[in-house]
Symmetry: C3
Subunit: 250 residues, 3 copies
Amino acid sequence: MITLSTDFGDPYPAAMKGVIARRTDADTVDVSHSFPRQDVRATAFWLRFVLPEFPPAVHCVVVDPGVGTDRKALVVRADEHALVGPDNGVLLPPARELADDIEVFEVSVKEPASHTFHGRDVFAPVSADVHEVGVDQLDRLPALSRTDEYETVAFPDPVVREAGVDGEVLVVDEFGNTVSNVPGDVLDDREAVVVDGKRYPVVPSYAHVAVGDPLVTVGSHGNVEFAVNRGRGDEAFGFSSGDAVELRWP
Amino acid sequence: MITLSTDFGDPYPAAMKGVIARRTDADTVDVSHSFPRQDVRATAFWLRFVLPEFPPAVHCVVVDPGVGTDRKALVVRADEHALVGPDNGVLLPPARELADDIEVFEVSVKEPASHTFHGRDVFAPVSADVHEVGVDQLDRLPALSRTDEYETVAFPDPVVREAGVDGEVLVVDEFGNTVSNVPGDVLDDREAVVVDGKRYPVVPSYAHVAVGDPLVTVGSHGNVEFAVNRGRGDEAFGFSSGDAVELRWP
Amino acid sequence: MITLSTDFGDPYPAAMKGVIARRTDADTVDVSHSFPRQDVRATAFWLRFVLPEFPPAVHCVVVDPGVGTDRKALVVRADEHALVGPDNGVLLPPARELADDIEVFEVSVKEPASHTFHGRDVFAPVSADVHEVGVDQLDRLPALSRTDEYETVAFPDPVVREAGVDGEVLVVDEFGNTVSNVPGDVLDDREAVVVDGKRYPVVPSYAHVAVGDPLVTVGSHGNVEFAVNRGRGDEAFGFSSGDAVELRWP
């Protein structure tokens, strides 16, 4: 199985699927092609959330603002999974979620057919090659060489204070649910929190408040989430990706 | 085959596909992940339209405004098909379109991993289990028990009058085509209808009027539809989902 | 393998997948279902770009503003590929990219179930039939008859002048990258071009200019493209599909 994750929209990913289908019979599965445009950190967050649900697979990831520059191409082995993509940090958080020990390989890339579509010209064929040789046989691919130099994306650590927790908005999903970097267990046994001077209920899920009302909950990723029942949490709380979040105890 | 229908957008459905791929080799097919957000009736309408085209399959449906509350989880058997989803009525209209006799089972759900993402934690694994045991062997799944208590969604009946038909807008599709609950045969042998005091032509398809002109037709679902050739019918007729529609004969 | 290309959005393509799955075990691959609405030329451009990446396959293409009129239905054989769709020109440019010699067949269509959804009622079943009989055995399908009368879409030729090149915008992609009909080799050895009186750098890819800066490059389709690094080229250059483009040498 080869999964595909890009910020390409349509129809570029189809070209990648064609390239893969010419090289392998592996099933391809779309993770998303609407990751936040060129947002490496948000994509890394989502992949850390989604990829561990999959059985062993090759994960082709192309969110690549540096396409056509001299940034490297990587293959990261994480147990029985492999991640293939640009060396901009996006692969490391999901790889570390998939396995304690990882191995990173640099791909020796010949002059690709284009400078602007390495999804088609580099990452799709490498993903197919990795699938065909097998994730436990990466040494047999002459284009790969082990490396210890690679980029990574860091998620900021929240700061726990006596009065509450200072964190940051990591992503806003398509519902408007706003996901922070604050681990959900800080809400254990709490009935309410204060954000920006206003008190909000802490509830197990959205429908525990009236339609249209705001709430704070622990999302399925385990982090503190700001939401509105059948509405948009980002608008109600005024949050965007990257914003500071100050949770205070009532 | 397991089909997936949600209002999740991206990338949540990928987590469901991963969960399924860990449990079964069944093909997964996306019906849609952009069903109208938390709109149980509109989703039921579309599924009643689309699912009968499929060969026998397990249909996993997660449009679930009550996630995390005590609403039940259901499996509905309809001949060789099974539908899996929340007990909010969404499963029943397509099930009744697929088979005259249906059987409804309640799922005994252990404490799921999250309160907010039962697509991943409940409905995907149950769909895989149903696929593996076989739709004709549901009795063998210990988590399932027959029930006669379940929600259903009703589509309003149109009212036929001497002067015309009073109906309702059920859904607006992405083209802006506006689908009503009025059965298409009321337009048999008619050349025009009056809506809101204006006369519109009744035609077999969009291109039978000039580009930009409004029209009334019978859509591929068999219902009366309000459209514009290469334009948006919802805007031309001023219709939104749930609006009353008064068709009058000229 | 059967690929699907439409402008249907959701959930209509799922009905086509159901129809296909009832007739064949072939894998289906989505090329796109968000091709520019009823834009035959733009779809033909994208298919000419994407379909050559695929191994031999049946390509079902439904961008069909004339649905329900007397426009014909076609199957076009291009070496080991077949393209199935309406006779409005959309199939020919990708077919000619796939093979030097093509054969065109008209489909004898019985009264379809609907006048508005031939994707489900005509093109999906024909695509499945073509896949089952085999692209090299089209003569065995009684519904098909060779024809030399069919529509085609022409892409305008750019006009090369001493002072530069006059071309046209063919498509704008979801990034806002604006693709013209001007072949990329006119930029060989050039460092800059003038568009609408302003000078822009010619670079190999987006990240060779500062974030937010405009640029001119050769896209992965081989044509001259107008873009902004991490921004929208269509807005920066004021270009829409169909606009005239006057490239001038500095």
